[in-house]
Amino acid sequence: LIRHLLIATDFGPASERAQEAALDLARTFGSGVTVVHVIKPLPYPYPILPSESARQAVSMELDRVAAIFRAEQLNVDATLEDGPPWERIISVAQERKVDLLIMGTRGRRGIPHLLLGSVADKVVRLSKAPVLTVPPWRYSDRKTAGTELARAVMALREERPIILAISRGALSVANEVASALETSMDGLFVRLVECDGQAVGAVCEEGTCLFDEATVSKLAIPIETLGTVIGESRRLCRDESLRLRGARWIGDVGDRTVLVVTDSISSPLPAAASAKVLRAMGARRVVVATPGGTFAALEALGTHVDATTCLDRVREPAGIDVLYRDAQELSDAEAAAMLSGSSASRPSS
């Protein structure tokens, strides 16, 4: 159906996911592929065109992208163009009679009307052929997100916070935060309790349970059903904790600031449940930090904790699904190593 597709790339992170989408589609349809990069002329008084060596470097980058498609036995041609990007992209698409144009956008973080964002706008508006615009991943992986999150919570360093990851996915994030704050971290495992696909509460590994009473009564869940689901969630949560952290309990949090780290917040319940446990244990302040969360969940969480830090607020859970390019979480062995105070979780001096 898609005989020939065009992928416009700026070789940057904004184009990576678009390239992968192009590869997926080209493989599915056996499409011919045209890779385009446009060199934008610099405004006067600079030289109109970049130097020959700069051009050569760009040309090598283009070959690298073309090779990705060629490795899949696809028919590829790559072209380096000069001129206004949107105009060149549309013109190449017309010449080659492509069925689909694919390009990246800057996503929600983009500076409006700058660079690729505005190129995509123009191409979308003016192309006769369909255009697939692909937003970038927010973070390449959880570790990178942790590095960014660490910068946002650096002010807490003076309080010598205890850093706790509340899920397996949060471990890699928390590990980076801990190392930037020059402290150690641990895991306090919490699990969402779901009934018919709806979050009704959260349990902590030591047994504490927090209900979303409004949802429980709205769904009119029979008390026995609720009991069963909670029991099962508790068991799973305790099992995971035993596998990852072992039998030891987390250290004393009495009168300390605790920084609860998650990898995303689409429900306030898990973080709120952890705060309930930590308060009961005597924590002075509970602060939650996450690379991404929905507005609604963060707002609801606000009443349960002392402060929240979120790098990327999104409207809906779908935004959370695309936070990490590499969605892979740690294996049992990796997580256990991180929690047993191996080099990874020790403060870097």
Binding site: G110, P130, T133, A318
Partner: protein, 98 residues
């Protein structure tokens, strides 16, 4: 998606708009179902780009498909700018069709 700015407070008029939008939606759904596609329809009222992104989020879609040019008298610029907003703000890929 019906734009609320076009609606007066007259409930009869709102009802009329809703009915005509719903029947257009049903026709489109029937056409796609005829081609063997599984279809769910959603009719929303409000700011078009916000509603499109909201529905996409709620249904956890992997792709948004939309036109870039209006039909039936809808001003070109209006639908064009909706597509622009959606393209810029969507967390999932958007396929725009002229």
């Amino acid at each position: 998606v019906a734009d609320e700015k076009d609606l007066s407070s007259d409930t009869d008029y709102v009802q009329l708009m809703e009915d005509s939008a719903q029947s257009a939606l049903n026709n489109e759904a029937a056409r796609l179902q005829g081609k063997g596609v599984e279809v769910t329809t959603v009719l929303r009222m409000g700011s078009p780009w916000e509603q499109v992104l909201d529905v996409a989020g709620k249904l956890e879609v992997g792709l948004i498909v939309m036109g870039t040019h209006g039909r039936r008298g809808l001003p070109r610029a209006l639908l064009g700018s909706v597509a622009e907003k959606v393209v810029r703000l969507s967390p999932v890929p958007v396929l725009t069709v002229h």
